[in-house]
Amino acid sequence: MGKRTRYLTITAICIPVITKENYPLYIRSTPMENELRFQYMVHTSLDMVDEKISSMGKALVNQRELYLGLLYPTEDYKVFYTTISKVKFVMVVNPSNTALRDNEIHRMFWKLHNSYIDVMCNPFCNPRTISRPGTDNMVMSMMIQVC
């Protein structure tokens, strides 16, 4: 019960998974009518991701902690990011949610990452579209709508 209430306070609006080559593996966003805008936002945020990765260089490999934190503040949304093996997870969250704490975001990424690993461990999974119900539910649970 306690877990559930915590997720209710966090509203991720858009959660994409992006491959090493920067093409989208999976995108899911809540208000579907505005999907294009979120995609643009996620795509542009890769600029910062690329810059951060390249500035880290080889240190990235040794780094256990891959959470990059807030990528850049936009007027309406905040974008976060984490990566393992250069697969990127980005999260667009509503900044009106001031209760959003860094460690909570972190935990969300951790869960998302674990579910991604579960999916990828399946040798019959097609990485082109992760459309297994498992991930979807996982992602959906984070994206409980604002309204």
Binding site: E21, N22, Y23, P24, I27, E35, L36, Q39, Y40, H43, T44, L46, D47, M48, E51, L71, Y72, T74, E75, P123, F124, C125, N126, P127, R128
Partner: protein, 1133 residues
């Protein structure tokens, strides 16, 4: 209202500087005054004090000062800040008025001049009545002043003048008009600056003093106004720290004001002004983070203060301006040396400004959509009497009204209507595009390529809305590839959709077709109904008909487009469009695959072209042609299906060239390769697929190489990573992903049908003519021609081997250095089926070791491929590794005549040379003869005849020879004396008669020759007989040039009695010989020790008896005494 009503006023954005007016200067007609003025205002560098100067006539009227209010009790302010106030203090009310007056201390008419000056000062004072403005007098003098205190008249007159003008001594200055004008001016203006600071200080005090009269209920506006004024005066005083502090207080006070729909614009306007000042000062103080924090706070506080819903576009415009102004400030700070970073640069603010400008446009579009019949209200409610507003941010039709109730709703309505109608005329797109391009420039600078692309898409879309389709298309086309290469298909589809609209509206055929092709393709995320529509339009265009208009296009532009399309029907200009697919993702995919990585030249080359369409309906192509690197094959690989243009969509499932969506179509091609291409690569350089009719419009899709477009490499990668099992398909169908492009193949020669055998007896022996028998047999069904043999050392081995290996076909003569290591292209004629030929090959290997030999047989044969007569060249090769070994080992040794091993030989004394030849060959060898070639220094003792002629040696057998030689004295030779050569002529016993004999020359070792002083040799019979006299003669030869004293003694032996000199001492002359005769009488039979001869040379103590023993025998075999009866007894027997 001008369209720039949202622009911040100039007086707000400039840097406030102390305002000082100069009077009494005639800058037009007076050269001296002109020079003074120029010195003040020309080339003001940054290190000069910040003052703005202005020349005014002495009787200039300054703005009147309103009478001081003694009580604020009944005063109700009408607004926050008057529009003229900043300008008044920047440009109208001076901090200091300077009166310039030409007067020297020794002026004869001093009294008159003094009073005139006093009058001028008085006039200025009159005009400044009620203000705290300072007055100063500057006397322009022709003479250089004396040092202070020396000129008594000067100080007297100065005091008098001050008195007359009611000036303090500090306000009277002297400006000698001499060489150092600029220096004096700088000193003057520093003094002016101090006066100005005092003035602004008093002004701040004055404003502060009002505070105590204010009360919080009625004077809220004044709190803000006064705080702002204090801050502004501080800025004029150049006290930026205090200015910032006061602006911050003012900012907080603004937000404490009671906000209502009627005054929200005024509050926002003032908040914007103060925010601007704060941010500006923060950047100036090099605290950019403070500036950013302030700005964020400002935006957070203000973004919800929309105000009247009917005028909400005003809020968007104001927000946009806030971001733009901050972006400008940020950018300016960067130009002055601030460093920005990727995540914090002016681009974000311009982008946000653009976003609000877009919102403004949207709001304006929905709020200002009045009928054309709605007229602009008359009289204009936006006009004021003065042409300007009294207070910033107020409505012109209700200025100074503080009530929150709308006293006159009708008037309000008209005012709102006027604003809305004005907004309709604003060129929104222009504003948006300017802001976006500002942002693009910034993001380009801060390495944000994707952000840049995104903004360029927005710019393109804005151009589209602004109906500038050419520019829109240019921008969209530019960024498309970025999204395509990273596979963001949703975004690409959205861009393509806009681009298609642009190309439709301009009736740009090629673009229209290209975008349609991609929107139908697999990269497009459009729904099927949309794709159907686009496909139908594409077919229409190809059939030379107008396409249906794109949805959501501007009606007027749509009509123009229809006319343009109608014009296109004339088919003027080129109507064949070749489109390279490598840069985009069309709706047809193509893969070419050769059946094998190589083909024999006598088999037809086969390959498949796989095609797959992704469009919603079946589509028929008219032609497919494949091009190769050798263009002669192109003609064999064309499929053309004659069909009328209108049949493109009919009979969909019939014909080879009709593609059913989602189904893979395989087309097989076959051709016979040219024999010249054997060993070459045949490559598919391009595949062209034509859609439409060549007489009408025709699109040729061109794949470079064996297919693949902008998305296929990525897809191939994904397919490779996937382990997903593919569903089973019927046998004749294949999975698209499983087809791997194979765009090239090798043409290799026909498989030979001959056998090549090598026959030989390894190992080869060094230098022999090793025989290799090559047998070639034809198994071909027809005659083979032009058989050629290449044989010899396989190229590519150690270079030294090439030097030491020689090949010939003739075994009868020994080959030398001039023979090659590899014989090439030896013609051996033709061969009938089943026939075989034999060829002998002789190889001579000069060194031991293993070698690879190559035998390569090539021939020509006539054959048919696909009913075509071709001449094939075939070849077969065999390699063999042959070891070369030495045929025999030769050992040489020197021994004394007593067969004792010799380390060295003695001059003039004979010795024996023994050779030992040990066969190492596994095959029997015949030593034909041997020969000893002596070096000049050697002489032979007897005949040098070969003792091993025609000896046959089996493996491990050896043949020895012995030669008796002598070496004359040569003195001391370093390293010994050459002996000569030993030459062995040999051949394999099995070799044929005509095979030449091989001469192997062995260089004999050098020998060390030593001289001895005395040589002794003995003459004695080969055996003795008991009790028979045995005469022994010793010859003693003096080998030196001296007379030698020799002591000789003979020691008795048990086995002998002897007669002769037992002990003697004698002399031997140089080169002569002394004989000593002894008669030994053996007493015992057997191998007996002779009585030993001891010689002692007095001159050569080294000459020992051991050395002597080498030359003379030490024992002898003594036979027993013969029995005389024997003969008879034998006879008796």
């Amino acid at each position: 209202m001008s369209p720039t009503q949202w622009d911040l006023p100039v007086e707000l954005c400039c840097r406030p500087m102390a305002f000082v007016t100069l009077t009494g200067l005639d800058v037009v007609y007076n050269a001296v005054h002109r020079a003074v003025w120029d010195a003040f205002c020309a080339n003001r560098r940054a290190d000069r004090v910040p003052i703005s100067f202005k020349v005014l006539p002495g009787d200039h009227e300054y703005p009147k000062c309103r009478p001081k209010r003694t009580s604020y009790e009944w005063y109700i302010p009408k607004g926050i800040l008057k529009t003229g106030w900043m300008n008044k203090h920047l440009n109208l009310v001076p901090a200091l008025v300077v009166v310039f007056y030409e007067l020297d201390w020794d002026e004869p008419q001093w009294k008159e001049k003094q009073s005139e000056c006093a009058t001028r000062v008085e006039i200025v004072r009159q005009s400044l009545q009620g203000r705290n403005t300072k007055v100063a007098v500057v006397l322009i003098q022709k003479k250089t002043p004396l040092p202070p205190g020396e000129d008594v008249i000067a100080s007297e007159r100065a005091a008098a003048l001050c008195n007359a003008c009611e000036l303090s001594g500090k306000s009277l200055f002297v400006l000698p008009h001499t060489d150092h004008l600029v220096g004096y001016i700088i000193r003057l203006e520093n003094a002016f600056y101090e006066h100005a600071q005092t003035y602004y200080y008093t002004e701040i005090r004055r404003v502060k003093s009002h505070k105590e009269f204010l009360n919080k209920t009625t004077h809220q506006l004044l709190f803000v106004r006064h705080q702002f004024k204090i801050a502004f005066f501080s800025e004029l005083k150049q006290d930026t720290q205090n200015a910032l502090k006061n602006y911050r207080t003012a900012y907080n006070l603004v937000h404490e004001l009671r906000a209502h729909e009627t005054n929200i614009l005024e509050i926002k306007t003032m908040a914007g002004f103060i925010n601007y000042k704060i941010c500006r000062l923060c950047f100036q103080h090099n605290t950019p983070l403070d500036a950013i924090a302030q700005f964020r706070k400002h935006i957070d506080l203000c973004k919800k203060k929309i105000g009247s819903a009917e005028l909400s576009f005003e809020h968007a415009a104001w927000m946009s301006k806030q971001f733009q102004a901050f972006g400008d400030l940020f950018d300016e700070a960067i130009k002055l040396g601030l460093t920005a970073i990727q995540t914090q640069n002016p681009g974000f603010y311009y982008q946000q400004a653009a976003y609000y400008a877009q919102e403004r446009k949207q709001l304006a579009k929905s709020l200002c959509n009045h009928e054309a019949s709605v007229m602009y209200p008359n009289p204009d409610p936006l006009e004021t009497q003065t042409g300007v507003l009294d207070f910033y941010g107020q409505r012109s039709w209700r200025q100074g009204i503080l009530s929150f109730d709308l006293s006159d709703p009708e008037k309000e309505k008209v005012g709102v209507l006027a604003i809305q109608l004005k907004e309709r005329n604003v060129a929104h797109s222009e504003i948006i595009i300017t802001l976006l391009s500002n942002a693009v420039a910034q993001f380009k600078k801060y390495k944000c390529p994707r952000m840049k692309s995104h903004l360029m898409v927005q710019m393109g879309e804005e151009y589209y809305y602004a109906k500038d389709y050419t520019k829109a298309l240019k921008l969209l086309d530019y960024v498309m590839c970025d999204y395509r290469s990273e596979g963001w298909w949703t975004l690409l589809t959205s861009i393509l959709t806009t681009a298609l609209k642009c190309s439709y509206l301009m009736a740009q055929l090629k673009d229209y077709i290209t975008y349609s092709l991609e929107l139908l393709g697999r990269a497009s995320t459009l729904k099927d109904d949309q794709k159907s529509r686009i496909e139908k339009n594409l077919i229409n265009v190809l059939m030379n008909e107008s396409p249906d208009p794109e949805p959501d296009c501007d009606i007027f532009a749509g009509k123009t487009a229809q006319k343009l399309w109608a014009d296109r029907i004339s088919l003027a200009g080129s109507n064949i469009f070749t489109i390279g697919v490598q840069d985009f993702v069309p709706f047809v995919q193509c893969k070419a695959k050769f059946h094998a990585p190589s083909f024999h030249v006598d088999v037809p080359v086969e390959f498949d072209i796989y095609l797959k369409a992704d469009c919603p309906h079946p589509i028929r192509f008219s032609k497919l042609c494949v091009s190769f690197n050798n263009q002669e094959y192109n003609q064999f690989c064309v499929i053309e299906e004659a069909s009328k243009a209108n049949e493109v969509l009919e009979n969909p499932t019939q014909g080879k060239m009709c593609l059913v969506p989602g189904k893979t179509r395989k087309l097989l091609f076959k051709f016979v390769a040219k024999t010249e291409d054997v060993g070459k690569k045949i490559e598919i350089t391009s595949v062209d697929l034509a859609l439409g009719n060549e007489t009408g419009r025709c699109v040729v899709l061109n794949w470079q190489g064996g297919g693949g477009d902008a998305a296929s490499s990525q897809e191939a990668l994904q397919a490779a990573r996937s382990f997903k099992r593919r569903p089973k398909l019927p046998d004749n169908e294949v999975h698209w992903d499983s087809i791997i492009i194979q765009a090239s193949t090798m043409i290799i020669s026909r498989v030979p049908n001959i056998s090549v055998h090598l026959q030989h007896e390894p190992p080869a022996l060094t230098n022999e003519m090793y025989c290799l028998v090559v047998t070639v047999q034809s198994h071909e069904k027809t005659q083979i021609r032009d058989v050629k043999l290449t044989a010899g050392l396989k190229p590519g081995q150690d270079a030294n081997l090439t030097q030491k290996t020689h090949v010939t076909l003739h075994g009868t003569e020994l080959c030398d250095e001039s023979y090659p290591a590899l014989l090439t292209d030896i013609p051996v004629g033709d061969l009938h089926p089943g026939e075989q030929l034999e060829k002998m090959l002789y190889v001579r290997c000069g060194t031991v070791g293993s070698r690879m030999f190559l035998v390569y047989v090539s021939y020509l044969i006539n054959t048919t491929a696909e009913e075509k007569e071709i001449v094939c060249k075939c070849h077969k090769d065999e390699t063999v590794t042959i070891e070369t070994v030495f045929p025999f080992d030769v050992a040489v040794k020197f021994v004394s005549t007593k067969f004792e091993h010799l380390e060295r030989v003695y001059a003039d004394i004979p010795f024996l040379l023994m050779t030992d030849l040990l066969s190492a060959s596994p095959w029997a060898l015949t030593v034909v003869s041997s020969e000893l070639q002596l070096a000049p220094s050697m002489t032979t003792v007897d005949q040098l005849e070969s003792q091993v002629d025609n000896v046959v040696l089996q493996t491990g057998e050896s043949a020895s020879e012995c030669f008796c030689l002598r070496c004359p004295s040569l003195g001391n030779v370093e390293g010994g004396v050459a002996t000569g050569h030993y030459i062995i002529s040999w051949k394999r016993t099995s070799a044929m008669e005509n095979i030449p004999v091989i001469r192997t020359v062995i260089t004999l070792p050098h020998v060390i020759v030593e001289n001895i002083p005395l040589h002794v040799n003995a003459d004695l019979p080969s055996f003795g007989r008991v009790r028979e006299s045995l005469p022994v003669k010793y010859h003693l030869q003096n080998k030196t040039d001296f007379v030698q004293d020799v002591e000789i003694s003979v020691e008795p032996s048990d086995a002998f009695m002897f007669s002769g000199l037992k002990q003697i001492r004698l002399r031997i002359l140089p080169g002569t010989e002394q004989e000593m005769l002894y008669n030994f009488y053996p007493l015992m039979a057997g191998y007996q020790q002779l009585p030993s001869l001891n010689i002692n040379l007095l001159r050569f103590p080294n000459f020992t008896n051991q050395l002597l023993r080498r030359f003379i025998p030490t024992s002898i075999f003594v036979k027993p005494q013969g029995r005389l009866m024997d003969d008879t007894s034998i006879a008796a027997a």
